[in-house]
Structure formats: structure tokens, C-alpha cells
């Protein structure tokens, strides 16, 4: 028990790293996923085929492989990356973690948002077109907001999965919650104490994020609730 209290500050420091990496990847992944989803529903082959290939690869392979491919795999191209001045980025486990998680969540989220876009009622799109909207305006004002509302519960699950998946970055030496727990337990042999403490912190984070996303869901659907204030 003592060891848990002793290492609590470091575990909480790890929690900050976990949240940082998750938040950045979710944000960047979201920004990437929206255009990817729009491209995915396009009828133009040159638009949807690359997105299909991207999501197929990233959803069909384990995240651990993707992290290793980017972090260790980039070493095989060190000379090239050095010549374009990117090597100092790929040398950093933190950067590779965020990159791998971003691409991974972008692939999953793009598929979720695609489902949302396809779930937008045709009548709304027709009405918007009748009002003279088209192209980007139509997507910005009508399709994307509606698609996000439809996709939100599934997207919440994806964010929770990403938070848990971020524990894998400890394998490439990032000191997140799992990384800190592994390091301290390896030195002190207090394995179950530390991993249980780490599990508890993850549980708190998961249910905290669930609560926040539920609040957002209620907010974006507020116009549907009649007289509930």
C-alpha cells in the first residue's frame, strides 16, 4: 500500500502524459477524419479508393505494428529522413506515438463519420439544395453537423478505445501511466500494487471522458429535447 502512495505523484505525472497524447491524437485524428469521410463517400474513384486503402490498412492491422513501423521502421530510412530534415522528429518516441495514434484513430473515425454522413436523411440534403446550397456550404451547414450528431455515440467509443490504446506507447519508452507503472514495478517488484493502481487511474479517466462526451452529446442534441430544462 505504501508503495502506491509513494509512487502516486509519478503515476499522476504519467496520467498527464497519457491525456496529452490522447488529446492531441484525438484532435488531429478528428481534423483528418472529416475530410477523409467526405472523400470516402465521393463517387469519384480517385477520391474514395485511396481513403478505402488507408482505412483498410489501419483498421486491419494491430496498433502495435503501426507504432513499431513508424518508430523502429523509420530507422531503416534514417539517411533519407536526415536529408529532408525530419529525422529529429522520428527519433522521438513521443512524436512517433502521436503520429501512429493519430493515423489509427483517423482511420477508425473516418469510417464512423462515413456511416454518419450516409445516415443523413436525403430530404434534408434535397431541402438544402432547393435553398441553393451546394458543395462545401452544403457539407458545412447541413451534412457534417447532422452526421456528427448521428455518429457521436460511436465516436465516443472510439475515443475511449484510443485512450486505452495509448498505453501501448509505453512499449516504445514513453512514460505514460503504463510506462511509469512498468518502470517502478520492475525496480521494486511491487507488480500487482502498481498495475492495480494504474488500472484504477485508467478507469477514472475512462469514465470521466465518458461523462464529458455524454454532456457534449446532450448539448449537440439539445434542440431535440422539448421543454427539458
Amino acid at each position: 500500500m505504501e508503495i502506491i502512495i509513494e509512487s502516486l505523484p509519478r503515476l499522476l505525472g504519467g496520467a498527464v502524459v497519457t491525456l496529452e497524447i490522447t488529446f492531441l491524437s484525438v484532435l488531429l485524428g478528428f481534423v483528418l477524419a472529416i475530410p477523409l469521410a467526405v472523400m470516402r463517400v465521393s463517387r469519384l474513384r480517385c477520391l474514395w479508393m485511396p481513403v478505402y486503402a488507408f482505412t483498410f490498412y489501419f483498421r486491419g492491422t494491430p496498433l502495435l505494428v503501426q507504432i513499431f513501423l513508424i518508430y523502429y521502421g523509420s530507422g531503416q530510412f534514417q539517411v533519407f529522413l536526415d536529408s529532408v530534415g525530419l529525422w529529429h522528429l522520428f527519433k522521438s518516441p513521443w512524436f512517433c506515438s502521436v503520429l501512429a495514434l493519430t493515423l489509427n484513430t483517423a482511420a477508425y473515425s473516418a469510417e464512423i463519420f462515413r456511416g454518419g454522413i450516409q445516415g443523413v436523411p436525403r430530404g434534408e440534403v434535397e431541402a438544402a439544395r432547393a435553398c441553393g446550397m451546394s458543395g462545401i456550404l452544403l457539407y458545412r451547414r447541413i451534412v457534417i453537423p447532422k452526421a456528427l450528431r448521428i455518429a457521436w455515440p460511436a465516436y465516443t467509443n472510439e475515443v475511449i478505445f484510443l485512450l486505452q490504446a495509448s498505453s501501448l506507447v509505453s512499449i516504445i519508452t514513453v512514460m505514460d501511466i503504463t510506462g511509469v507503472a512498468r518502470e517502478i514495478s520492475a525496480r521494486s517488484f511491487a507488480f500487482y500494487e502498481l498495475f492495480l493502481a494504474a488500472a484504477a487511474i485508467y478507469l477514472v479517466l475512462v469514465y470521466g471522458i465518458l461523462w464529458i462526451f455524454k454532456r457534449i452529446e446532450n448539448r449537440i442534441n439539445a434542440y431535440l429535447q422539448v421543454g427539458q430544462h
Binding site: P62, F68, L69, Y192
Partner: protein
């Protein structure tokens, strides 16, 4: 053959893939068993049993797989050691990575398949259960003859998803040195200093497993809904 040979490490990858599939199938069987047990508990008449099942699914789904794998592989033996030492007779145990891996992955995805089976159970029309009960079947006979066969059909798409996530999660067992696909790719990558080549090759094997599983799932779903009239 030189392309598949990969400096002589191609076979190592294929051996790893075999173990990955083996681990995956064993864990899936365990997960489905736990899922059925879990769903029976979720609809149990005892509120204590229901509470236990709810705790199982909510807690397990909130903790990363990696933490649970490390907890089982490193934590449980030390816990047993500490407890038995307190009782005056220390017992030293260590887990085989295969057993620890299958147990943990099966235990985690047991929680997910419990939820899948729960949805499937609710999808079976209540009238049929009532009819079976009216014909004099006991609760367990009704479950075996009427509910279970239909549940399986509703559960197939969800179980397919669980399998897809599960087979990718087996890559994490490489952390406890089980020589499955990921671990062997790592060994080959270190030996040849060509990490990209080997991790990419490994990713293609995983992709191949995913595609194969997809085909099997489609076939199984089609087969399970023979004779079902839609619309």
C-alpha cells in the same frame, strides 16, 4: 522465393502467424464461454449475480489490455507469493506466457462477448420463450432449445467484430515474450537491422488474417440466416 524468404526469416514469421492464430482461437473459445456464462448471470434472478456480471463488464472494458496482461503475467504470481508468505508457507509460481496470454485476452473479450450475447438474447422474441414455457419446457430446456440457437444467429455479426479486435490484441502478448507473429517479427527485425521490412511483412500477414476472417464471417452469417425471410 527470395521475396518471401526475407533473409531466411520468412519461416519465422509464418511460425509466429501460426501461433498468433492458435492463441487467437483459444482466447476466442474462452471468451465465448465466458460470454455465455456472463449473459446467464446478467439475466439471473439473483441481484448479487447480476451485480457481479455488471461489474465484470464495466470494469474490464475500462482498463487497457496491456495493463491487464502485465497484471496477470507479473502481478498474479507475486500476489500469490505475498499472500502465501503471510500465511507462513511461501509458494513460488510463474505463468507460461501462452497460458497468461490466452487467459487474459479471453477474460477481456469475455466481457465484450457478454455484451454481444446480451443484445442477441434480447433480440429473441419473448413470445417464443413464453410458448416454450407453456409447452412445459423448463427454463434451462427453453434456453437450450429455443433461445440459444436463435441467439447465435443474432450474435454472429457482433462476435465477428470481437474476433477482429481480439486477433489484433494478441499482438500485445509479444510484450511477455510469447513467440507469436509480432515477437518473431521483432526478433527478425533486430537480427537483420531491417525493422521496416519485417514489421511491414507482419502487418501484411495480419491484414491477410483479417481478410480471411471477413470471408468466413460473411459465409457464416449467410449460412446462419438460411430460411429466414426478410421483408
Amino acid at each position: 522465393m527470395s521475396f518471401f524468404d526475407l533473409h531466411g526469416y520468412g519461416w519465422l514469421l509464418l511460425q509466429g502467424a501460426k501461433l498468433t492464430l492458435y492463441v487467437g482461437i483459444c482466447s476466442m473459445v474462452l471468451a465465448m464461454g465466458l460470454g455465455l456464462l456472463g449473459v446467464l448471470c446478467k439475466f439471473s434472478r439473483s441481484s448479487l449475480v447480476r451485480f457481479a456480471a455488471d461489474t465484470y463488464t464495466t470494469v474490464i472494458r475500462g482498463i487497457p489490455e496491456l495493463i491487464l496482461i502485465l497484471l496477470v503475467y507479473y502481478g498474479v504470481p507475486t500476489l500469490i507469493q505475498d499472500v502465501t508468505a503471510k500465511l507462513g508457507q511461501p509458494v513460488y509460481v510463474s505463468f507460461d506466457p501462452f497460458v497468461a496470454g490466452v487467459a487474459t485476452i479471453g477474460f477481456i473479450y469475455g466481457a465484450f462477448s457478454t455484451e454481444v450475447f446480451r443484445g442477441a438474447y434480447l433480440a429473441v422474441p419473448r413470445g417464443q420463450v413464453e410458448a416454450a414455457r407453456a409447452c412445459g419446457m423448463s427454463r434451462s430446456l427453453t434456453f437450450r432449445r429455443v433461445v440459444l440457437p436463435q441467439m447465435m444467429r443474432f450474435a454472429l455479426p457482433g462476435l465477428g467484430n470481437v474476433w477482429m479486435v481480439l486477433i489484433k490484441a494478441t499482438a500485445l502478448i509479444s510484450v511477455i515474450q510469447l513467440p507469436e507473429l509480432m515477437r518473431n517479427a521483432d526478433i527478425a527485425a533486430r537480427a537483420t537491422r531491417e525493422p521496416f521490412t519485417f514489421f511491414f511483412a507482419a502487418s501484411l500477414i495480419y491484414l491477410f488474417i483479417t481478410i480471411g476472417s471477413n470471408l468466413v464471417q460473411q459465409w457464416a452469417e449467410k449460412r446462419a440466416s438460411r430460411g429466414i425471410i426478410t421483408d
